[in-house]
Symmetry: C2
Subunit: 314 residues, 2 copies
């Protein structure tokens, strides 16, 4: 059995860890493939940074900082302080020393002519992830944010301004010419179920869906597609996706995001939609199941994964 997840960064990573745990407990022969958003990727100080791939990798490797919510556990920022002293990079975007090891290795592989997929395979081979990490595209796609008076790199808007500058829209530079990776298309085609993680519906899942070829693959796959709401009781579970939803005119509610994704039967994305029990009474455009959505720990995350597979009748 092949389980394929569409995932952004931290929230998707946490969900993926729960799925892996559920599979280990109940479906040890199942194979987990995670198609990861690359729209937050960027070149910074000559290094290729892939925040979502790294969040998923560090989380599955148990090398992530749970408390801070991102990056490596036990991280230090000595090299980054030097870069600041030299006036290189973004002073508000910290590159940890451990994290820099990953960035330097990846950048080195890319400069040797490897694709992001090949570089990711080499980087992830170091860790025992129990999952295949698949960049949605090897093409460079960079999300920018339109604000009053101009356009910012997504990271500048997200990290520097904490998504507080009202976003008027998002531009995924390079997305028209981007090519979905073969591994991403195969992971969708060959899946027994596709799970849409409770990631940012706009800049994470939205970017994955915007890569040419991905929507067609999702429409064509025989696998049921189950989405997990990133919104509980009208609030974002983590991150600042509400600012992104507002920018594209979608309310920050579980039904609104379901409607945004759309029912597959009506040409949309989803066969099923998981919402939290507090959102059970709303009405949905997609067949919906209400279960506890809070991933408090590994057990609740694994239970959510089990519920998602149940919604797919697996």
């Amino acid at each position: 059995m092949i389980i394929t997840i569409l995932s952004g960064g931290v929230g998707g990573a946490r969900f993926a860890r729960g799925v892996r745990e559920h599979l280990r407990r109940s479906l040890p022969d199942a194979e987990l493939r995670i198609i990861v958003n690359t729209g937050d990727d960027m070149w910074l100080a000559g290094l290729r940074i892939t925040p979502d791939l790294d969040s998923v990798m560090y989380t599955l490797a148990r090398a992530n900082d749970e408390e801070r919510g991102w990056g490596r556990i036990g991280e230090t920022e000595r090299a980054s302080a030097e870069l600041n002293a030299y006036g290189v990079g973004w002073p508000w975007f910290t590159l940890g020393d451990l994290d820099l090891g990953t960035h330097i290795a990846r950048s080195s592989f890319l400069r040797d002519g490897q694709t992001l997929s090949q570089a990711t395979a080499r980087i992830t081979s170091r860790w025992d992830l129990g999952a295949l990490l698949i960049p949605v595209t090897d093409s460079e796609v960079e999300t920018h944010v339109t604000v009053e008076g101009g356009e910012l790199h997504f990271q500048e808007w997200w990290t520097r301004h904490r998504a507080r500058l009202p976003a008027l829209g998002f531009v995924q530079r390079g997305i028209e010419g981007a090519v979905a990776t073969d591994a991403a298309l195969a992971a969708i085609r060959d899946a027994d179920v596709v799970l849409v993680a409770p990631s940012n519906p706009v800049v994470s899942i939205g970017t994955i869906l915007g890569i040419p070829g991905i929507r067609d693959a999702l429409a064509a796959t025989a696998a049921p597609i189950v989405g997990v709401s990133p919104i509980i009781g009208g609030a974002i579970v983590r991150g600042m996706a509400d600012a992104c939803l507002t920018a594209i005119g979608v309310e920050t509610t579980a039904p609104a995001v379901a409607a945004h994704y759309g029912a597959r039967s009506a040409g949309g994305l989803l066969d099923a939609w998981l919402v939290d029990t507090v959102d059970a009474s709303a009405s949905y455009d997609v067949p919906t199941t209400a279960v506890p959505l809070w991933m408090r720990d590994l057990d609740t995350s694994a239970q959510l994964a089990s519920d998602a597979l149940a919604a797919a009748r697996l």
Copy 2:
């Protein structure tokens, strides 16, 4: 007054610090320019490493590790351990976290299209050096070592093998097409004295002299050229230059190195040669002065600088 030094890494850096100290004490209006060897430079893990420029910079910035003899004081190697775990770089060539800040900044400037000279000017502007650091060339020249059965990168021979594999010769790849920097040529032309630091005569000073244009500039300058012996009593003061000298058929003695450099009056490099008092009785091809050469501390280093200027009749 302009004092120009030809320098390699650690030994040259220590000498340069003494010259700076002497100038501060006795010639506060003098200007110090240091032409630095770039033959040990290399690309490693996608980063441009310039060991000699960094040794001189860190030493003059008082940011160097005196005890270890190279690199930054208080250094850690967390990113480097990650790189090793990813199988990137050379496990025997450590890149400290603080040092990595310098390498990433420099590489970023170079990739933005700046020359090594421009990148060096930006990197050094952070520190209060009291000297101008000048790469001898902006061209990429890489020293390789011929050993039985093949050729190694200089760093592999020097750092990994501690110069213990018998060297049959040195190849400075790219040196024929290299171009001396304008700043290096000007520093020689406009100097009131040129000091040849007690650096490795083969791979440090030898590489500087091998850059097209440098020999002609040294022959043409009105400044006296004073060399300081890197050998005291038949032994190398620091480093492993004896292995280099042996490879090119030069004995590890003060007179042999003087003969290797040659008297300027006979078409060679030097107008004067400073040796240690223990080497006073030997006979030399170059006008020679015997003074205490050991740079034990700042005072003895400054005294050596004073002696070197005196030998130039300054």
